[in-house]
């Protein structure tokens, strides 16, 4: 009973935090868009095939820059969230909100901001693209660090603590290795997420905004604009090749290597579902080890002095010393104010609510002042836009479910088929959906005349179906084999087995897939509802289109803020009130007790 009460209290607390954070977001968005957006134009260039290698290279470099910044961010904030009470209370919800913000909506803001601080230099466009990719990667990896550190067995941590290792030693011996498996696993997701946004922001940049951001995304978009189908296909082919090469030679070997950092050697369940072509690096690595091993040894020998210097000089001086100093200072500060901080429980709650009330009033005032005068014209279209966009995402979800479920029905108990399916799905999912947009626009809308509504739906489905598929396959693979045997021994028909065993088992996974797809869908929406082809705008009615319209045609800060805030509020609202309860309810009911 006490536990129940506690969880209610915790829930109220966390929803209060969400409210506060949302108010913070309101301030931030209005602050960013106060001055409206100022977009200058660059003349469009024509693309040729020889531009392709350079474009691919630039895009990959952008990805790498964003990824390394994400890693640094993830370790700093993941550790803070996992190891400080304040961090856990605030950083987690912040990450959660940031995860549900459709970052594509911020691209115009990011461009305006970075171009502002770089005085119009091209580096500003670069930085804003890198920032956008960063926002698609960092939160996810941050959660990985947080969860890994949280999952360290208490005795392992105590063992390290009881030896009084230095801060940096603790990080390199304990927190870093413990985080490696999940960080790499989530990095793969983040990395493909990154492609999606990279292509998206390159397309946006040369779309209505007309910024020069050479890369594979802008290459595809320009080729589509010039109706050069073969260039679009070449571009897609090159992109898939790069993605596959990176996956085979970087992510796969890293995943295999990371297994040694797992806390306990568990049954290699995920290894079973690795597709065929992804096994390649293992065989290649074993062939090459004859050459690579001595080479690696030599390299390691060369790094020895550097490592010694880092370990004995750099880290103690620039890490342990500052950390020790800061914690000493904090202790010194916190001791005299400790009694004040502790106070009575009631006082603290009262102060908290007072501060919250103040914030709400301030926020309301701020918003009221900002939207004073005639309301922007987009207001009238907001309700119907939300409705249409939501319906569109739900339709795309329904389409995804309608082909995923039969597939699971036929494959869940056939490991070989599932293996093959996973391989194909990995291949399909590795193409960022945004890269297909130019192709779909060119062929589907321009050549076949399918209409923009259909085009948007196809784009959207391509963007979200993999979330549903991978979750469903994963859920099906996790069904305990004794339950399968039990179903067999009772002679249940395949359909009855599916209905009574498989479907209930994969339900939580399906809901997880739907939640992820819901979040990802809004990002895809912003790109897919409003498309420029040859300076001619094709759009459908929806929130994504409304946002793009506000940015590119109105250039009105108030309309943009309004669209972004309404979108975020709506996503959070549906998340907190529909998806989360549904998920928890299902988890309770359908969990395998072990």
């Amino acid at each position: 009973m006490a536990l129940l009460q506690r969880s209610v209290v915790e829930k109220t607390k966390s929803s209060v935090i969400y409210l506060v954070l949302f108010i913070g977001l309101v301030f931030a968005v209005i602050g960013i868009y106060r001055g409206g957006v100022h977009l200058s134009e660059l003349k469009a260039e024509t693309v040729e095939l020889p531009d392709l290698p350079g474009a691919i290279l630039l895009s990959t470099l952008r990805m790498a820059a964003a990824y390394f910044s994400s890693l640094i961010f993830a370790f700093v904030f993941g550790l803070l969230a996992a190891r400080t009470a304040l961090g856990e209370r605030f950083i987690l919800p912040v990450l959660d909100i940031l995860q549900s913000v459709p970052v594509v909506g911020f691209f115009p803001a990011a461009i305006t901001f970075f171009i502002g601080i770089t005085h119009g230099h091209r580096i500003g466009v670069e930085l804003s693209a890198i920032f956008l990719i960063f926002t698609s990667q960092a939160w996810n990896i941050g959660f990985a660090v947080y969860e890994s550190v949280k999952a360290i067995p208490i005795e392992n941590e105590e063992a390290v603590m009881s030896m009084a290792l230095r801060q940096s030693q603790r990080f390199f011996r304990l927190y870093l290795p413990a985080s490696i498996p999940r960080v790499i696993y989530n990095s793969i997701l983040s990395w493909s997420n990154g492609w999606f946004f990279l292509v998206a922001c390159e397309i946006i940049a040369i779309g209505p905004v007309k910024y020069n951001l050479p890369g594979i995304g802008s290459f595809l978009a320009r080729a589509a604009e010039e109706e050069k189908l073969e260039l679009v296909l070449w571009g897609l082919f090159a992109l898939v090749c790069v993605i596959l090469v990176l996956d085979t030679f970087i992510w796969r070997p890293l995943t295999i290597w990371s297994a040694r950092f797992k806390q306990e050697a568990t049954a290699n369940q995920d290894e079973e579902d690795v597709g065929i072509f992804l096994d390649l690096p293992k065989t290649i690595a074993s062939r090459l080890s004859f050459f690579t091993e001595p080479l690696l040894d030599i390299l390691i020998a060369f790094t020895l002095p550097i490592r010694w210097f880092m370990k004995e000089v750099v880290f103690p001086l620039f890490w342990d010393l500052p950390v020790a100093l800061i914690s000493k200072v904090l202790q010194g500060v916190s001791r005299p104010i400790q009694p004040v901080l502790q106070g009575t429980q009631k006082m603290r709650v009262a102060i908290g609510y007072f501060a919250l009330g103040f914030l709400v009033v301030l926020g309301a005032f701020y918003v009221w002042k900002w939207f004073q005068g005639p309301l922007p014209v987009v207001v009238r279209e907001l309700p119907t836009s939300i409705l249409y966009s939501t319906l569109r995402i739900l339709t795309a979800l329904a389409v995804s479910f309608s082909w995923v479920l039969p597939l699971v029905y036929f494959t869940w108990n056939r490991p070989k088929l599932r293996h093959a399916l996973t391989t194909i799905a990995q291949l399909g999912a590795s193409i960022p959906a945004t890269a297909l947009f130019p192709l779909i626009v060119l062929v589907g809308i321009r050549k076949m005349g399918g209409g923009m509504e259909l085009g948007t739906l196809v784009l959207l489905t391509f963007g979200i179906q993999w979330y549903v598929l991978f979750n469903a396959i994963g859920g099906a693979a996790a069904i305990p084999s004794d339950l399968v045997d039990a179903a067999k021994s009772y002679g249940l028909s395949p359909f009855a087995t599916f209905r009574t065993l498989v479907f209930p088992s994969i339900r939580p996974a399906l809901i997880t897939g739907a939640i992820t797809a819901w979040g990802g869908g809004w990002n895809a929406l912003v790109v897919s509802e409003y498309i420029t082809v040859k300076s001619e705008v094709v759009k459908v009615k929806g929130l994504g289109a409304l946002l793009s319209y506000s940015v590119y045609e109105l250039g009105d800060g108030r309309s943009i803020s309004l669209c972004i805030l309404v979108m975020v509020a709506w996503i959070l609202f549906v998340n907190l009130l529909i998806w989360q309860p549904l998920y928890h309810q299902n988890l309770e009911k359908f969990r395998f007790s072990s």
């Binding site: 006490a2 506690r6 915790e10 067995p153 005795e155 392992n156 105590e158 063992a159 390290v160 603590m161 009881s162 030896m163 009084a164 290792l165 230095r166 030693q169 011996r173 304990l174 290795p177 040694r260 950092f261 797992k262 806390q263 306990e264 050697a265």
Partner: protein, 254 residues
């Protein structure tokens, strides 16, 4: 116990509270006791009596909420590098080899490489892990893992060895072997470490090993009694005097 031994660690009116979501819970209340140099002390008590908390305060992992811990007569603040801990579930880092795990404590004490290597080899030999230097913990059995845990603690040559139910996750035969080896290490005067404090819930184990048993009562943990074991070693469970001690511990626990 040596006749001229002095007090190594002393707890003075130590109380420990934890802030849990349902409110503040007192786990240890007003405990005072002394451990003399050379003693083997076991702490027994029902689960939740705060045995492990007591041990962690002696190591410095946890500060007491009230009272103080004196080590060699001086108040102990932070981790006491003169102590080393052995854990119930070993606390070995899965990504480090046996040697690297043992070396970890030495690394924290900034010892040079040559010394570290020689210590690691010495204690690997002492606990009988030769040939497993480069193995990873997951490749070892429970008993071997605890040997690594023991070697890691001994390698820093602590004056006080703290053990938190070191034999609880091991099978019966393994734990008998390891108990005997522990007694050998303890009675071997060549070793630096000759004072040991061990938490256990196995009463026979406590009587078999220790000079003195500290019995804790439940929630909050207080000292319910203390028992000196005056039996010559090696002690045998069949011995009627041994069973008498078992009965006395049980009566103190009840």
């Amino acid at each position: 116990m040596m006749p001229d031994s002095h007090t190594l660690i002393e707890l003075q009116h130590v109380t420990r509270r934890f802030l849990l979501p349902q409110g503040e819970v007192t786990v240890i209340e007003n405990i005072s006791f002394k451990a003399l140099e050379g003693e083997f002390i076991t702490i027994v008590g029902p689960s939740g009596a705060g045995k492990s908390t007591l041990l962690r305060m002696m190591n410095g992992l946890l500060p007491p909420s009230e009272g103080m811990v004196l080590y060699n007569g001086r108040e102990q603040k932070g981790i006491n590098l003169d102590t080393a801990m052995v854990f119930q579930n070993f606390g070995l880092l899965p990504w480090l080899t046996v040697s690297q795990n043992i070396e970890l404590g030495l690394e924290a004490r900034s010892k040079d490489v040559v010394y570290r290597r020689s210590q690691v080899n010495r204690y690997i030999a002492k606990v009988g892990l030769e040939g497993y230097e480069e193995a990873y913990p997951r490749e070892l059995s429970g008993g071997m893992k605890q040997r690594v845990g023991l070697a890691r603690a001994l390698a820093v040559e602590p004056s006080l060895l703290l053990m938190d139910e070191p034999f609880s996750s091991l099978d019966v035969l393994t734990s008998i072997n390891l108990r005997n080896e522990l007694l050998d290490i303890w009675s071997d005067r060549e070793n630096v470490v000759n004072t040991m404090i061990m938490v256990t819930h196995n009463i026979e184990e406590a009587i078999e090993l220790s000079d003195r048993i500290l019995i804790l009562s439940n929630r909050p943990g207080k000292i319910a009694g203390e028992l000196k074991i005056d039996l010559p070693r090696p002690r045998r469970k069949r011995d009627p005097l041994f069973s008498e001690y078992v009965d006395r511990v049980f009566s103190l626990l009840a």
